[in-house]
Assembly symmetry: C2
Homo-oligomer: 409 residues x 2
């Protein structure tokens, strides 16, 4: 199997390029929610068990050195760096995405002291909007929420920072990183990316495109497990000047000297706060091995082929049932999930779940289907189209019955 | 075995009151570092394995409901509440201790807007000092660092909040919670406790003593695993007015409606930020079952008996080797570890570790020995005294040799 365009060719033996065997696939399940919580890579079960029953239970406090716990955040960060186009020394895995956004946004605002506005996409994931509002309040700034496409034309010399999600969580609309970075820098502002729906499925080039900061989630396409630590990226050129607000001891230059005054670690390490969450980081660190031997370009080709196949099915078999495509048709503008809208979307997702096909629903009527290039297959796509069609045939009966009942009451 | 004063009586069969069997004890090891990283409760290995290989791997996204992931932070919090004298609905397990201190300290400062000073113990654990300095800087406040005993007399109408660690991380000095709360409230200030070296070993009465806020660590006497989530306490009377700075989606009143505006959850739930770290919380939540059937009073009696026994040994057998006691002699003023000072303390700890007795060292010359009442025994105490004596006998040879060598160079 290659990554590109095997659909609709004949099925083949497992072949180089398929990484599905690296994951635990629950029997009978078709999973389209890797953009919400990724499948478990098989290596994780052993790694976590080893961390609990050997490193912790037997090694105890000694494992901070002997099992490498002290550098887990950095080592997980470097594995992520490779997936998001970052050279070493700029990505670290720690805390949650929300906490990490707080850290980098405050840092950015401090680097651009005197400027009075933060600009963001009105359709950002809500937690990003909440954190932005809070930082603005603390620093006496205003927040301008506009459509992503209107951000470049909204910028001026008052803007301190722009926060934009690279791939929209509802529509999968992807944004041109280089274009926004350029526009931000032309206005003298700093660009912060949320890569939660990007990393592990869609390529991006943080370094090459000139990004300033980024944050992201460990439990979606990175498969780090429920509530896995997030990560953050800080471009080398900003690190020495960064002054992040959660100045905890793990971000100190010499944490184990227990000094009374804070002195930030050099580099991206200063963005740590409390003690590293070893068990959670162990899961994430191991999960990232599922990307060994892959390239983001090949994975993206697979992602595009899967989402194209699904969109074909929507056009040819589902549009007649009232489904409309909420995601871009262009591969260049699309992440790795496809959203449909339908007035009965919530009920349809429930009916699919009963048939062991798992996607998710986002208010008011978005049906989201994630296609994770490491493990989703064209058979999955075919089964999904079939099942939605089937549900709609059943649903037409129910709706009919529903209408009849209503007529009698 | 009862909790009180079996030492120096005859050894007995395992008897009600001993909980050592609930833990994995590495063969041959004597562990005196439960105040830094607790032993692994046996139930944790299964609980974590189940969370990884069943709840995540098979249940996937559905486990947020079916496996109760959504309420893990609350359920772990309630188990901790029982150990720190808090009625339900006031403790939640989330983030790290440092991040939690940031959240409650900013909340306190906002509740006391207009006041200009934060007071703390000059000997606080460094991460607390760093976070306090950062919050003060952000809100334009000053920080007054004094000795803990001088805090009550330092308070006036300018003080917004006091941060004090209940049991000092170096000396194990314990403070009278009610006395400090009373002094804080007399000045109109809010009292924040760090319970990192308290919870699980030393009783405290957050509610009854009138505490306002508290934070603490999950990986010491609570045995939640390396880098386990911390927790925080907010007294019922403050919750509705609290405005915490890390306004992430898990602290929202209706997180799954994905609303653009932040509306804090009612109660202590609003102190959550990002997605709950499920695997780490699962370990902590399970570990807390090691306290089933215990009372903090009984555990404290055991803690006092163990530390008394160790101090006896120091007096009768170690003082002659130059060890001085850095912890209070009074049970009422002492936590569950005992610190000794010795000019060669670092080397002594290394020599003990080589003999499979694990304590830890804190600059400049503190040798810390934790006695966790759930699992440490009087045999441990005896073995520790024996080993230190043995090391000093060996060391006296080395020192002699060292002096002789020096005399020739």
């Amino acid at each position: 199997m290659t990554f590109i365009d095997i659909h609709p060719g004949p099925s083949q033996d497992p072949a180089p390029g398929s990484f599905r065997h690296r994951f635990h696939i629950p029997p009978g399940l078709r999973y389209f929610d890797g953009n919400s919580l990724g499948l478990m890579p098989n290596v994780v079960a052993h790694a976590v068990s080893n961390a609990v029953s050997r490193e912790w239970a037997d090694g105890l406090i000694r494992s901070w050195n002997s099992a490498g716990w002290r550098t887990l955040s950095q080592r997980a960060g470097e594995k992520i760096a490779r997936l998001v186009g970052a050279e070493p020394g700029q990505v670290i895995a720690c805390d949650s995405t929300s906490v990490n956004l707080y850290k980098v946004l405050v840092s950015a605002v401090r680097l651009r002291a005197g400027r009075t506005r933060i600009v963001t996409d009105v359709d950002s994931f809500p937690t990003d909007l909440y954190i932005i509002d809070e930082v603005a309040r603390q620093f006496g700034l205003s927040v301008q929420q506009v459509r992503a496409a209107d951000i470049p034309s909204s910028l001026d010399a008052d803007v301190a920072a722009i926060v934009l999600t690279h791939v929209d969580y509802r529509t999968a609309q992807a944004h041109d990183m280089a274009q926004y970075n350029k526009a931000a820098h032309a206005a003298g502002a700093l660009m912060i990316w949320d890569l939660s729906h990007t990393a592990g499925a869609v390529p991006c080039a943080l370094d090459a495109s000139g990004a300033d900061f980024a944050v992201g989630c460990g439990y979606k396409y990175l498969n780090g497990g429920p509530g896995a630590p997030g990560y953050l990226y800080v471009a080398h050129r900003h690190q020495a000047a960064c002054d992040q607000p959660l100045a905890g001891w793990f971000g100190h230059a010499r944490p184990f000297e227990f000094l009374p005054d804070y002195a930030p670690a050099s580099g991206v390490d200063r963005f740590q706060c409390g003690t590293s969450p070893v068990l959670a980081l162990t899961a994430l660190h191991a999960a990232l091995d599922a990307f060994d031997g892959t390239s983001m370009e090949a994975l993206h080709a697979q992602s595009c082929a899967l989402t194209d196949a699904f969109i074909d099915g929507v056009d040819t078999r589902l549009a007649r049932h009232g489904f409309t495509l909420a995601s871009p048709r262009s591969r260049q503008q699309r992440g790795s999930h496809v959203s449909l809208r339908h007035p009965e979307g919530y009920g349809v997702m429930q009916a699919l779940a009963q048939r062991q096909l798992i996607g998710d629903f986002r208010m008011p009527d978005f049906m989201r289907f994630g296609f994770a290039p490491l493990y989703n297959t064209f058979e999955d796509v075919e089964a999904l189209i079939d099942a939605i069609e089937q549900v709609m045939r059943d649903a037409s009966w129910s709706s009919e019955e529903h209408r009849v009942r209503h007529a009698f009451t």
